[in-house]
Symmetry: C2
Subunit: 149 residues, 2 copies
DNA sequence: TTTTATGCAAAAGCTTTGCACGCCC
DNA sequence: GGGCGTGCAAAGCTTTTGCATAAAA
């Protein structure tokens, strides 16, 4: 098994980017989060073991990693974006508007739509990450949560 | 041609909601915006003719209208959500990650995907509004904008 | 040694909330 | 007249930014 830090180190160095402990930790946590973590959550996870890291650093690093094409940013509708490593297994998310549940689906499911969008509009839909909103099976069954009931 | 205000008035009254000039103006501007306006933009448009309206009122009203099922909220990824009347012609958006262009597409295009998601996951994808991110035809042609070039 | 990233803190946006007054029913 | 909605202002959150220091190359 390869030490992930070695891998991240190479990824950064190959692009002429500086290798810092903060960047290594951020990359690792993003990878572990499988595209489900917000900037705030990434910070919290790192701070649990390394309290000195500042949230400002998280934001700045995420921006740099994104510009370098290493990390993608996706807005799942709540408020904050979530991040994931580009090139990790392509998948997408079904987000339940009611309970907030996030269901992961494979990329193959979207292939026909992507082809159609490209044929008709020349639009290249992002393969990295796709968010679809709606109601999950459970919430669709009970139309309204009716808090008082 | 029907006076839209009369229509909005009925829509509110039928649900036992109070009819106020602010709510009528907000509904009209949302309708005119075709699902492309943020809360801030809605406020600006109204303030152009009726400066007294406060942005806090916009936010509170949008929340109420959304809870009543009259208005839907969609996050197009930038930062702020956009709003539109539920029941207006179903359409969706292709959002270019590079230039920010928003392309409107008909609902039929998503029917096969929606059917597949329901069959496999029991997931009911929202028909009201759907945002797909990627690169538009123009930006796909020139991979990198390269600001300095 | 030079350049670049980080910690810190303050500022900037956007959105929410408490309160008193005014309008809608 | 009673109750809900609005204007106003302040607070809350997330994200961005300036600066001096510390760390990487």
């Amino acid at each position: 098994m390869v030490d992930p830090f070695v891998m991240y180190r190479e990824v950064l160095a190959l692009r002429g980017m500086r290798v810092t402990p903060q960047r290594l930790m951020i990359l690792q946590v993003i990878d572990e989060g499988h595209g489900h973590l917000t900037a705030d959550q990434i910070g919290d996870r790192i701070r649990a073991k390394f309290p000195a890291i500042h949230q400002g650093t998280i934001y700045r690093t995420l921006e740099v990693l994104r510009e370098a094409g290493l990390v993608s940013e996706t807005h799942l509708g709540d408020r904050s974006a979530v991040y994931e490593l580009v090139g990790s297994h392509p998948h997408h998310h079904l987000v339940c508007d009611n309970c907030g549940q996030v269901i992961e689906i494979g990329d193959a499911m979207l292939a026909p739509l992507r082809a159609a969008l490209f044929n008709q509009f020349g639009f290249r839909a992002r393969t990295e990450h796709f968010a679809i909103f709606g109601l999950c099976a459970d919430c669709a069954r009970q139309p309204e949560p009716t808090p008082g009931a």
